[in-house]
């Protein structure tokens, strides 16, 4: 009974993480379309939410990586292991909210993996970590992907400019804005494919730890549907602060640059999902945005803002790992039963509500000041 209660808390926490992931990553998917005027904010977000949902059903390779290639399934089992998964999720959600609060587009995926690794290290030591999987399927692709998106977007925009350079700008911009509806849709589909699967992987890992599924199982259908729904609802709720950072503050984009950045991002994420690499969609799209800016001129990129984003990227894995480890330590003080997760969940909910209230009050002040200016 206790074990099932913890499992229920873990599943709810995982779906809450999935919601914050969609909420947090809305910017990645729609910012370029909105900032170039290719789509209205409401239409872009609704379209992205729908395609996030569809994308979650396309593949399960990433879910398999999260469930089996990050932590050793046999090293963590029983009630304690569910607390590991729970603590990892708390680490990820907490870091997502901190970066959302300050408007930084950090990686939800790395927060999730960092949180789980931190908690597993405290629980079972380094033997609980699948080092080869963590390095080969997470860390190296994490470095390669944004660089790849940067290079590909730069080449794509260079090629596009070369073809349309002597044309009238009006029809060209209209054409690329139309193209952005397609490339934005592809990016949303790719985002659903890669990011929703991370939650599927975590819930599958929890079900295996609980004994409800045998080791090596794929996500059950209800897990896929629930994860797809949670990320789509999160995306629909949106993260306006981060949209501003990604869409306007890194570079001022024209529609061709937006199209190239989204196309490159979608291609990198979809190719990676196909091979089971759990990428950060945030890293990829920001790499694409910077690449499409650099191709025009290096000074077009606001490197100070880009530097802040890179700092958030670097901090994400260790910060989420520390929060996950501390959460596991605190949870363990109450034994391996559900008391720890229940108390931590209650505290987390209170902190989340406080953060939302404070943030919305600050936003209201900024809006009033902007109107008065």
């Amino acid at each position: 009974m206790d074990l099932h209660l913890i499992l229920a808390i873990v599943v709810v926490s995982a779906l809450a993480f999935d919601f914050t992931n969609g909420f947090h990553d809305t910017a990645n998917v729609v910012a370029t379309s909105i900032s170039t005027g290719a789509a209205s904010p409401k239409a872009a977000i609704a379209f992205a939410a729908l395609l996030n949902f569809v994308g979650a059903f396309i593949s399960i390779e990433v879910a398999a990586t999260i469930a089996s290639d990050v932590v050793n399934q046999s090293a963590i089992s029983g009630a304690g292991s569910l607390n590991v998964v729970f603590s990892g999720l708390v680490g990820a959600i907490a870091w997502n909210l901190v970066t959302w609060y300050f408007g930084l587009p950090s990686s939800s995926s790395h927060a999730l993996i960092g949180g789980i690794v931190g908690a597993a290290l405290v629980d079972s030591g380094s033997g609980a970590i699948e080092t080869a999987g963590l390095v080969g399927k997470v860390l190296i692709p994490a470095v390669v992907a944004p660089i790849l998106a940067f290079v590909v977007a730069a080449l794509a925009i260079g090629l596009s400019y070369r073809i349309v350079r002597n044309l009238r700008p009006g029809p060209v911009n209209r054409g690329y804005r139309l193209g952005q509806i397609v490339s934005g849709g592809l990016l949303a589909l790719a985002h659903g494919t890669n990011d929703a699967q991370k939650t599927m992987g975590v819930i599958t890992l929890a079900l295996i730890a609980d004994g409800a599924l045998p080791a090596g199982s794929n996500p059950p259908t209800w897990v896929i549907v629930a994860s797809a729904t949670a990320i789509a609802l999160g995306t629909y709720s949106g993260g306006w602060r981060i949209i501003k950072t990604t869409g306007m503050r890194i570079i001022k984009m024209d529609p061709a640059q937006g199209f190239s950045a989204q196309g490159a991002g979608a291609a990198v994420i979809m190719a990676s999902s196909h091979f089971g690499f759990p990428l950060s969609t945030t890293h990829v799209i920001n790499g694409g945005v910077m690449g499409s800016g650099v191709a025009k001129r290096i000074s077009a990129v606001r490197w100070g803002v880009a530097g802040n984003i890179v700092t958030a990227w670097i901090l994400t894995l260790p910060a989420a790992a520390v929060i996950g480890a501390v959460t596991f330590g605190v949870t363990s003080l109450f034994g391996s039963g559900p008391v720890g997760p229940v108390i931590i969940s209650a505290i987390a909910i209170v902190l989340i509500v406080i953060a939302f209230v404070r943030r919305s009050r600050q936003t209201e002040v900024v809006d009033v000041q902007a109107e008065g200016a």
């Binding site: 080092t131 790849l148 925009i157 090629l159 349309v164 060209v172 193209g179 190239s260 291609a267 196909h274």
Partner: protein
Amino acid sequence: MEPFASVVNTTDLFETVAAAFVASLAIALVSSLGIWGGTKYVDYSQEGRGVTALLALGVGVFGLLATVGIIGLGIALMVTK
């Protein structure tokens, strides 16, 4: 320290990089050709150059269809694994 190749599936990594390059550049090429064809069709039509306008329209239609085809192929490859 494990060698790089034993930790990373270099074939998968290489195929990911190659697929991203090919897909992105192909989409950029054909969609830009579509925009070029559509814009030139209007320009040539206004200048009364009927045959050249039709050729430009052909390039535009090819670009549009090729864009749709590449996207469809990419999604089909994703689904079939």
